[in-house]
């Protein structure tokens, strides 16, 4: 019951908070890792790679995905798969310790995994 009450409260004060939430929304451009089972070191490196690829291929998701995939294949061995998009659903089987699921820029979802 508690959460529902809190949302109703939010709805009541919507007019005031709308302006407040508008500001942070612009700041939603940092990479946000939703799920990752990689080792810490590898994770940092891969996130960095994804961010650079996305920034280089602004608006070109296909190019970004391709770059990411090819770089990962070179660095960590074959058969990496990469999905970049604003909306998609998936169910994948991946090798353990080789999955990254992150958001970037407030509207892009990136999924990167190593297949078996």
């Amino acid at each position: 019951m508690d959460p529902s009450e809190s949302t109703s409260n939010l709805a009541e004060g919507k007019g005031e908070k709308a302006s407040e939430t508008a500001d942070p929304r612009k700041n939603f451009n940092y990479p946000l890792v939703k799920y990752c089972d990689m080792l810490e070191e590898m994770k940092l490196e891969v996130v960095d790679l994804v961010v650079t690829a996305l920034e280089r291929h602004q608006g070109n998701y296909e190019g970004a995905a391709k770059t990411v995939k090819e770089t990962m294949d070179k660095k960590y061995g074959n058969s990496w798969h990469s999905v970049v998009g604003e909306g998609f659903g998936f169910e994948i089987t991946h090798e353990v310790k080789n999955l990254l699921y992150m958001f970037f820029g407030g509207n892009i979802g990136v999924l990167l995994w190593k297949a078996l």
């Binding site: 939430t21 942070p24 929304r25 939603f28 946000l32 939703k34 799920y35 089972d37 998009g85 604003e86 909306g87 998609f88 659903g89 998936f90 169910e91 994948i92 089987t93 991946h94 090798e95 353990v96 999955l99 699921y101 958001f103 407030g106 509207n107 892009i108 979802g109 999924l111 995994w113 078996l116």
Partner: protein
């Protein structure tokens, strides 16, 4: 014989031929006409009979081969005789394997073959010539043969003469050519070969383990992304707030904002631990793990017995105690074990009192109940304000423990109660000892079935405590006095009971008025009740005297025993014999007394202060003692009267403080002044006892009569 018989049917021609050959052989001898010698038993045949011819036909038929083999012919569907019977019989079949030895150089084998061929030719020539000669000239055989040989030699020479010019320069070349052409001698050479077995080929293959995999699914939508960012933002704000709340960490940790933090949960373990079912299963698992870790000890306890001990017997060898579990309560490593007591009804359960014997290092005490099943942690723990000095289990209700403390209070704890607080506790208000309580003992319930126990203290008082419904009732039984007058008079045991009563009372009354009375108080240190007479007990004092007292006379002693020079630490009545008791003292000795006589029967010197003794619960002649040296001594009076049957160092650099026999199992418990309790297994030789308690008593009685040189009391 046989040769001659067979020789007879041979034709004349062959005989003639033979004779010729014989002639040739016997060239050099003087020739005489040869007579045929016949053995006398040879049957004589007439010439007709001799001429008779017997024809013998040799054919190639095997007589053993069946003549009439009939086989079923499937084509014509009838039995048919097979005409072809195999008549070949092989009797012997040897395949040669010899090869010429000088295979290495091929020259020699070639040359002799040629020469041999030549000589053979010559030989045949001579034979032919001789045959011709024999046909033509029979009379002049000798000369002809000579001639023929001469001719032959001449021929040879001529042949040789013809050959030399060609042969002489060639032989080496010929040999070389021969060697080159056919290097292998076709006669001596045999070819051999062997086909080895070809192994079958086989396919094998294995699968490597596939790398671990996982499935993952989600849906990416704009609103999901947005929610995620909002959540993240909220988390960050919360983290920031926490950091501002804790300024000590604040400044430096701000850089680590993006690191993930575990959600903080309230610690809820208490809720689980309060669940009674979980508690039971946790306890079970604890015991199981303990059983696993101490499995070897358990096996030893159950099955191991020193075989040598059984064989040698006690007279020849020292019995050995087998160390079993060691009990430590880790929090109380610095405290002394001041009391030990087995539970009277549970064979594996005992209680330990922790405190300190050191006057200057007193602190809070502890009562811990252990079971043999779990040496790692006590089952029950009770904290006390003052150091525990003594303990006793109540036999009727084995969950009740009477406790005496260093500050003079006594208390009764009930294990069945959940509370940590004692069931009863004496206080200054209700009355208590003013000095440490050295020993507490439960006694039989009083007339109203109230449980009661006795306590002894350094203040010289022996007090009986009765457990009423909601209070602990105190009653002074005796106040010990070190009274010289009294003790001198007690030397005559017969007079004391009759005359001395009034006198002593008078003396005491006189002294009560005196201020110095306080200094005459003897300080009790131990006591033990007579197993038969509930009223009689012996008291040991710190001054070294032992008094026999009765609960009925509260101002005087029945008997005084002088013998120890220093404080008595322990007095113990024998469990079978009602008159015999032991006393252990700081003056390094144990003395065995008959409570009707004021002189000790036997004195045992242990070379160190004896802190505790105990009679064995099953044999009247076995008792054990522990010393400050860390040694345990076990005496079996039936075997050796003056020497211990077992002397074993249990701890080094520590004093042993207490010893207890288990009533049910062959286990000894020993406590030391470092908070450790050791359990030891008694060897089989120290477990022997007679079935009847009466026998046990008589056994001891006999020994005592012999040692003291007294006649039995009846006389």
């Amino acid at each position: 014989m046989y040769q001659q018989r067979t020789a007879q049917p041979v034709t004349d021609a062959t005989i003639a031929k033979r004779t010729v050959i014989d002639v040739n052989h016997d060239d050099d001898d003087d020739w005489l006409p040869k007579e045929l010698q016949k053995p006398p038993n040879q049957c004589q045949l007439t010439p007709e009979e001799l001429d008779e011819e017997f024809t013998r036909i040799l054919n190639a038929n095997n007589p053993l081969a069946p003549q009439n083999i009939a086989r079923y012919n499937f084509k014509e569907k009838t039995f048919k005789c097979s005409p072809n019977v195999d008549h070949l019989v092989v009797h012997l079949d040897i395949s040669g394997y010899l090869t010429f030895k000088n295979d290495g150089n091929e020259e020699k084998p070639v040359k002799p073959v040629q020469e041999e061929a030549e000589t053979e030719e010559k030989a045949t020539n001579t034979e032919e010539t001789t045959e011709e000669n024999k046909k033509t000239e029979t009379s002049e055989q000798q000369t002809n043969t000579e001639n023929s040989t001469e001719n032959n030699t001449e021929n040879n020479t001529t042949e040789n003469a013809e050959k030399p010019p060609e042969a002489a320069p060639q032989p080496e070349q010929e040999n070389d050519a021969n060697a080159a052409n056919n290097s292998k001698n076709p006669f001596n050479f045999s070819e051999r070969a062997l086909q080895t077995f070809n192994n079958l080929s086989r396919e094998t293959s294995t699968n490597t383990e596939p790398p671990p995999k996982n499935t993952f699914s989600d849906t990416v939508t704009q609103w999901a992304i947005f929610d995620e960012y909002v959540k993240d933002l909220a988390q960050k704000e919360k983290a920031n707030k926490d950091k501002t709340a804790k300024p000590a960490f604040g400044a430096k940790n701000k850089g680590d904002d993006h690191t993930f933090e575990l959600p903080v949960e309230n610690h809820v373990e208490d809720v689980y631990y309060r669940d009674p079912e979980l508690k039971i299963s946790i306890r079970k698992i604890e015991r199981m793990t303990n059983q696993n870790t101490h499995d070897e000890i358990t096996q030893d306890f159950k099955y191991w017995d020193d075989v040598a001990d059984e064989v040698k017997g006690l007279k020849n060898s020292n019995a050995r105690l087998l160390p079993l579990w060691k009990f430590v309560y880790k929090k109380e490593k610095k405290k002394h074990v001041t009391a030990l007591c087995w539970n009277p009804s549970l064979s594996d359960f005992f209680v330990v009192g922790y405190g300190s014997y050191n006057f200057s290092k007193q602190g809070p005490g502890l009562i811990a109940c252990f079971t043999l099943k779990n040496p790692s942690y006590p089952e029950f723990v009770y904290n006390t304000n003052s150091g525990v000095m003594c303990l006793d289990f109540y036999e009727k209700t084995p969950s009740l423990i009477a406790v005496g403390m260093y500050d003079g209070t006594v208390a009764v704890y009930d294990l069945a109660r959940k509370s940590e607080l004692p069931l009863y506790k004496s206080s200054t208000k209700t009355g208590k000892h003013t000095d440490p309580v050295w020993e507490v003992k439960w006694q039989k319930d009083d007339l109203y079935d109230h449980p009661n126990f006795f306590s002894i203290s350094s203040d010289g008082k022996i007090i009986q405590w009765t457990l009423l419904k909601n209070e602990l009732q105190k009653m002074d039984i005796i106040v010990l006095r070190y009274d010289k007058e009294l003790s001198i008079k007690t030397e005559d045991p017969k007079t004391i009971e009759v005359e001395n009563e009034d006198a002593s009372i008078q003396a005491l009354i006189e002294k009560d008025n005196n201020i110095e009375v306080a200094f005459d108080n003897a300080s009790g240190s131990c006591f033990d009740f007579n197993p038969l007479d509930d009223n009689v007990f012996v008291v040991g004092t710190e001054e070294g005297s032992i008094f026999k007292c009765s609960t009925n006379y509260n101002k005087q002693y029945l008997m005084t025993y002088e013998g120890h020079q220093m404080a008595i630490y322990c007095t113990k009545y024998n469990k079978f014999h009602p008159r015999i008791f032991l006393s252990a003292s700081a003056d390094w000795t144990i003395k065995l007394w008959d409570h009707d006589y004021d002189k000790p029967i036997i004195t045992f010197d242990l070379n160190s202060p004896v802190s505790s003794i105990e009679w064995s619960p099953y044999s009247s002649t076995i008792f054990a003692a522990v010393t400050n040296e860390g040694k345990i001594y076990i005496y079996e009076l039936n075997e050796k009267k003056y020497e211990p049957v077992c002397e074993q160092q249990i701890v080094k650099k520590a004093k042993l403080t207490h010893i207890r026999f288990n009533k049910y199992e062959p286990i000894l418990l020993v406590g030391d002044d470092k908070g450790n309790i050791y359990s030891l297994k008694l060897p089989p030789s120290l477990r022997r006892h007679s079935k009847e308690p009466k026998d046990e008593m008589q056994k001891l009685e006999k020994i005592i009569l012999i040692t003291s040189g007294r006649m039995p009391q009846n006389n």
